[in-house]
């Protein structure tokens, strides 16, 4: 049958060894070992921790639902909600002008670069760090947290507004300008209709993210449920901690549903 003997290997291996990937994985594994030693992450510590963890978990269950604790939870949570709602509203209102000022096709270039620098500065710092600075500036409480979230919202929303404005079609803008309209009319009649749908989508996302972050700013003195949570941790009320965390998860999930609904409504 086979009168011509086939050479030993006529075909390439279907799956040749992938040396770059192997080397990459080895380097990664070595890095993990190196970083673990640097960070003093050892198996013994981990095991001791697991032992403590089980005690910790047993102290968390069942979640504490005593009426006085629930009242604390309700107060903290409603303050967090207020912080998130006001921060989103103010952020949305301010991000439109800032975003327009940062769009290079509408604003004069120096103004655009200045606004872009401002947006980068807003976006770079974590809301928690901004909250620390505001706690120093305006004192403990909801206002500091709110201002921190306004800054975070401005950073995120203005950047997206600027991008949306730069991507839009300039034809309506030229048409409206040709009628001799003022700058405000150009914005209202030619720019907003093109970016509004996306803007509302972003705002919905920002509301969502402010809800999550409003639980955070309280950890550094910004008011809201974060403050309640931090106090509970410091008092070792771990069963109440579990109640708070479950409540946060529930509120965040409801917030996700609401913002998803909002996005669909305005698509």
């Amino acid at each position: 049958m086979s009168d011509v003997p086939l050479p030993a290997r006529t075909r390439r291996d279907a799956f040749p060894p992938n040396w770059p990937a192997c080397i990459g994985l080895t380097v990664l594994a070595l890095y993990v070992l190196y970083a673990s030693t640097i960070l003093d992450i050892t198996w013994a510590r981990f095991m001791v921790g697991l032992d403590q963890g089980s005690r910790f978990l047993s102290r968390m269950f069942p979640p504490n639902v005593a009426p006085d604790k629930l009242a604390l939870l309700y107060n903290g949570m409603s303050e967090s909600l207020q912080i998130a709602i006001i921060a989103t509203a103010v952020g949305v209102l301010l991000s439109l002008p800032l975003g327009l000022a940062a769009a290079r096709n509408l604003a004069p270039l120096p103004l655009a670069w200045f606004s872009r620098g401002l947006i980068v500065a807003f976006r770079t710092f974590h809301p928690v760090i901004v909250a620390i600075l505001f706690v120093k500036a305006v004192g403990f409480g909801a206002l500091a947290g709110m201002l921190a979230l306004v800054v975070a919202s401005l950073g995120f929303l203005s950047k997206l507004v600027a991008e949306a404005v730069e991507e839009m079609s300039m034809k309506p803008v030229e048409a409206v300008r040709a009628t001799g309209a003022s700058f405000l009319s150009v914005v209202v009649m030619a720019v907003l209709p093109q970016v509004m749908a996306r803007f509302i989508g972003f705002s919905a996302y920002q509301l969502d993210s402010n809800l999550r972050n409003s639980a955070l700013v309280g950890l550094v003195g910004g008011g809201g449920i974060g403050a309640t949570l931090f106090t509970a941790f410091q008092r070792f009320d771990y069963d109440f901690v579990l109640t708070i965390v479950l409540a946060i998860i529930a509120v965040v999930m409801v917030g996700e549903i609401v913002s998803g609904f909002m996005r669909r409504l305005f698509q």
């Binding site: 970083a35 006001i86 500065a121 928690v128 004192g139 946060i248």
Partner: protein, 269 residues
């Protein structure tokens, strides 16, 4: 024409009646929510009187920045933050891959297991990394171990969600070919799914790393180690010039990481 004389010129609307009603209801609800928040939020006006002075004071005390503190404390803290973020991301990607396999409907054909996986994703994502850090500090004590685990656990949700979506989008053709050739499940995973998922996988991992560097810079405020710890020390001692240094370092590192990830993303995609 004569059959419908009463209708007149047709009215065109951009949105249907239901849409308009729903939107109006939504605007009303939003307004109510904002008014409720504004009326009931507790702001102490006495704190506001000296806010301008306090702010000026804040910046005056930060300047000049205490550069001498960098080699003493901040450099080590910076490295710790970077290692925390990177190690946390690696751990998260490993764990998230397993959960993503559990969630992807084309791999795990069980609604119950899909649901369990999905719950893990939502639960880990909803609790912020700083709250996870509080937990892990209580369990493992303050330090980078707690921070790394907090970063890792919190990132599972985000990474796993996008990974499972990427796996579900994989084309069935190569998978069917491998199945027909009698490949083992592991071989199908490595040679059928992995090449299709790889670009998304790398993109998700680098994006998450970018986020994690930002997050790990603040974890130290609750005991998670790194730059946050240095910031916390400076703030508790009221050394604002040192705090200014830490803030400056965070600013630089976040921008640097953003440039690096943009470069990596350009290479992958």
């Amino acid at each position: 024409m004569t059959a419908t004389p009463t209708i007149g010129p047709r009215q065109w609307h951009r949105f249907s009646v239901t849409e308009r009603i729903m939107r109006s209801v939504f605007y009303l609800m939003a307004l109510i929510a904002i008014v409720w928040s504004l009326r009931s939020i507790e702001i102490i006006p006495e704190f506001l009187y000296d806010a301008p002075q306090q702010t000026a004071d804040l910046f005056a005390r930060m300047w000049p920045i205490d550069w001498a503190w960098y080699p003493k404390v901040v450099h080590a803290a910076l490295l710790e933050t970077l290692h925390t973020a990177t190690l946390g991301t690696i751990l998260a990607v490993v764990m998230a891959s397993l959960v993503a396999l559990l969630v992807a409907r084309n791999i795990t054909r069980s609604a119950v297991l899909n649901g369990i996986g999905r719950f893990i994703l939502v639960a880990t994502r909803s609790v912020h990394a700083m709250v996870w850090a509080l937990f892990f500090v209580a369990v493992f004590g303050p330090g980078a171990l707690a921070g790394t685990l907090a970063i890792a656990v919190h990132s599972i949700g985000f990474t796993g969600k996008f990974l499972s979506e990427a796996i579900e989008e994989a084309k069935p053709g190569p998978i069917e070919a491998l199945t027909a050739a009698g490949a083992s499940p592991l071989a199908i995973l490595l040679k059928g799914y992995w090449p299709q998922v790889k670009p998304a996988f790398l993109a998700i991992a680098t994006f998450r790393w970018d986020i994690n560097v930002r997050e790990s810079a603040v974890l130290g405020l609750v005991g998670g180690g790194g730059l946050g710890m240095a910031l916390d020390t400076a703030l508790s001692n009221l050394y604002w010039d040192q705090a200014g240094l830490v803030l400056f370092v965070i600013f630089v590192i976040v921008i640097a990481v953003e440039i690096v990830t943009a470069w990596i993303r350009g290479k992958i995609i």
